[in-house]
C-alpha cells in the first residue's frame, strides 16, 4: 500500500509527512520512526526541511484513533523531489517519469501539496516567494490534467493547501472549526471539504468538478484540506481521513 506526496518544489511535501512523526500527536502516531533521530536527516539545523533529491521510499506505520478504536495503517510513503513535476525534467527522464507514474497509479492515496497564493498571505509574510492566484490557478490546470489523464483511477485524492500558518490569521480558530473528534459531533468529511473549498479553492471549483467527473464512479471525490506543520490538528486531518479507509 502506497501513499504518494506530489507537488512542486518547496511546497512542504517532505516536512509535512515527517512532522507527522512528531511524538506530540493527538490522534495520529507514527510508530516506526523516531522523530528526534531522524531530524538531522530531514531537517536542517535551522529547522527547515532539506530539499529532496531522489524519489524516497519509506515505510510508515501509522496508528490513528478512530471512533471504533485504534486503526493501524502500514504504508509506503513515497516522497519525490518537486523537480520531477517540471515538464523539462519529464522530457529528459522519460523512463523515470513513467515508472513514477506507475507507482502513483498503484498507490492507495495521493496527497497533492500546494503552496499558498500571494493574495491570501498574511501582511507580515514576504509575498515575493509566492505565486499569484492567477499563476496558481494556471498551475492547477496542469494538476487537473494530471489527475484526469495520468491517474484517473487513483482511489483517494487529497488536495492540501499547505503553510496555513502563513495565510490564516486565526489558525487556531480555523483548526478548531475543522477539528476531528472521534467521539464528538464535529463537521463531517463532506462539510469540511466544502468549508475549505469555498474559502480557499473557490476559483478552481470547476477544476475540482472536472476531476470528479472524469474519475466517474471508479474513484471517490477529491477532498480539499488546509495543512500546516505548525498546527497538529490540521496536519493530522488528511491522515485521519485516509486511515478510516485504509486501516484495519
Amino acid at each position: 500500500m502506497g501513499v504518494v506526496y506530489i507537488g512542486d518544489r518547496s511546497v512542504g511535501k517532505t516536512h509535512l509527512a515527517f512532522e507527522l512523526a512528531n511524538p506530540q500527536g493527538q490522534y495520529v502516531k507514527v510508530c516506526n520512526l523516531n522523530y528526534d533521530n531522524l531530524k538531522p536527516i530531514f531537517l536542517q539545523p535551522d529547522g527547515t526541511a532539506r530539499a529532496t533529491s531522489t524519489i524516497d521510499n519509506r515505510t510508515l506505520d501509522v496508528q490513528v484513533q478512530l471512533s471504533t478504536g485504534r486503526s493501524q495503517v502500514s504504508v509506503e510513503w513515497i516522497d519525490p523531489p518537486g523537480e520531477i513535476f517540471r515538464v523539462p525534467w519529464q522530457l529528459e527522464h522519460p523512463s523515470e517519469w513513467n515508472s513514477f507514474l506507475e507507482t502513483v497509479r498503484q498507490s492507495e492515496g495521493i496527497l497533492l501539496v500546494l503552496p499558498p497564493y500571494r493574495e491570501i498571505l498574511k501582511p507580515d509574510v514576504n509575498p515575493e516567494t509566492y505565486i499569484t492566484q492567477e499563476q496558481w490557478s494556471n498551475r492547477f490546470d496542469r494538476w487537473t490534467k494530471f489527475f484526469s489523464y495520468d491517474c484517473p483511477k487513483a482511489r483517494h485524492i487529497l488536495i492540501c493547501l499547505n503553510m496555513a500558518d502563513l495565510f490564516s490569521d486565526h489558525l487556531d480558530k480555523e483548526a478548531q472549526t475543522l477539528a476531528f473528534n472521534p467521539y464528538g459531533t464535529q463537521l463531517n468529511w463532506l462539510q469540511r471539504h466544502i468549508y475549505v473549498r469555498d474559502r480557499y479553492f473557490f476559483f478552481v471549483q470547476s477544476h475540482l468538478e472536472e476531476i470528479n467527473r472524469i474519475r466517474g464512479v471508479s474513484g471517490l471525490s477529491v477532498r480539499c484540506f488546509i495543512t500546516s506543520i505548525y498546527n497538529r490538528t490540521l496536519l493530522e486531518l488528511p491522515w485521519i481521513y485516509l486511515a478510516s479507509y485504509l486501516g484495519n
Binding site: W189, R213, S221, Y245
Partner: protein
C-alpha cells in the same frame, strides 16, 4: 444457509447496503437482530461507523488487480438475522453474501471478454447460489434502455447456466428516499418500475418465472422521520448524474426495507412484518 450475490451497476449502493446490514447489530431494533459472523462483516461494520456516519462514501468495489484479483478476493459477509415480531413466533435466516463489483454488471452489455471478469458471472450463476439481489439506482432517461440491455444478457446467461427456472431474483430500486421515488415505495413494481423502467420490468417478467421474481424499493439512508419524508441524504456534488451522496444526519439513520428482499430470497415467501 443461503448463498446470495448482490449485483447491480457501479454506484448502485451495494456495498453501503451491506455495510448497513453489518452495522445494524449496534442499532436498536425490536424486531430484528442481525449478527455478523465473518471478519469481513465486522470490518465493514466498522467502516459504516468511521466512514458512512462521518459524511463520506465507501470506496467503490473494483477489480483492481491488487486487493481484488479474482472472485475469491471479494469480501464475504455472513449474517444471521433473527426476526421476532410482536406476538409472533421467532424466525431466522442465515445468509452468505458476496458483494459484486458493479463494473462486471456494466460490462455485460458489450460482452465480457476478460477471463477473470467472466469468472465473476459464472460464480453468481452456480448451482449453490440461491438468489441474486439486483440493486438499480437509475430511473432517469437512459437507465431503462441500459438496464434492459444488461438484463437481457443476464437472462441469456441464466439460461446458458441452466438457472432460468431456479434462481430467485429480487430487483430493488435503491436510494428510494429520493423524492421522486419515495411515494412509489409501497408498490414498487407498479409505481416505480412500471413508471420509470418499463422495458426492464417487462423484460424481467418475460424472462423469469413469476415465483422467482420480486420487486422492492429500499433505501439504506432512509428518510429523517416516519412523518418527515425529507431524505437523510446530502449529495456530494452539484453535478447532474453523479451517484455519490452521503448520510446527512447519522443520529437519524433508519434504513428502509433492507431485510425483506433477503428474507424472500432465502425463504421464497414474502416477509409480513414492517421494517
Amino acid at each position: 444457509m443461503g448463498n446470495i450475490c448482490v449485483i447491480g451497476p457501479t454506484g448502485a449502493g451495494k456495498t453501503t447496503y451491506l455495510a448497513a446490514l453489518a452495522y445494524c447489530p449496534q442499532v436498536n431494533n425490536q424486531i430484528f437482530t442481525i449478527t455478523s459472523v465473518t471478519e469481513d462483516a465486522k470490518k465493514i461494520a466498522n467502516k459504516a461507523q468511521t466512514i458512512i456516519k462521518n459524511g463520506a462514501s465507501l470506496e467503490p468495489t473494483i477489480i483492481d488487480g491488487v486487493k481484488i484479483k479474482s472472485f475469491y478476493d471479494l469480501p464475504l459477509y455472513q449474517f444471521k438475522i433473527k426476526i421476532k415480531p410482536w406476538l409472533k413466533k421467532a424466525d431466522e435466516i442465515n445468509l452468505v453474501v458476496r458483494d459484486y463489483p458493479g463494473e462486471i454488471f456494466n460490462e455485460l452489455v458489450s460482452g465480457i471478454y476478460n477471463e477473470l471478469h467472466l469468472e465473476f458471472i459464472e460464480e453468481c450463476l452456480k448451482k449453490d447460489i440461491e438468489g441474486c439481489l439486483l440493486l438499480l439506482h437509475g430511473w432517469e432517461d437512459n437507465s431503462d434502455n441500459f438496464y434492459s440491455q444488461v438484463m437481457g444478457k443476464f437472462i441469456e446467461l441464466m439460461d446458458k447456466h441452466d438457472r432460468s427456472q431456479n434462481l430467485r431474483i429480487a430487483v430493488a430500486m435503491s436510494k428510494c428516499e429520493r423524492g421522486e421515488l419515495w411515494p412509489g415505495r409501497l408498490d414498487p413494481e407498479n409505481d416505480i418500475f412500471n413508471v420509470h423502467l418499463p422495458r426492464t420490468k417487462s423484460l424481467l417478467r418475460q424472462g423469469i418465472l413469476a415465483q422467482n421474481l420480486q420487486f422492492y424499493a429500499i433505501s439504506t439512508f432512509g428518510v429523517l422521520e416516519r412523518n418527515d419524508p425529507r431524505p437523510n441524504r446530502q449529495d456530494e456534488t452539484d453535478q447532474i448524474g453523479s451517484s455519490r451522496s452521503i448520510l446527512r444526519i447519522p443520529k437519524k439513520w433508519r434504513p428502509y426495507n433492507l431485510i425483506s428482499p433477503l428474507y424472500w430470497l432465502s425463504k421464497g415467501k414474502r416477509m409480513r412484518y414492517g421494517v
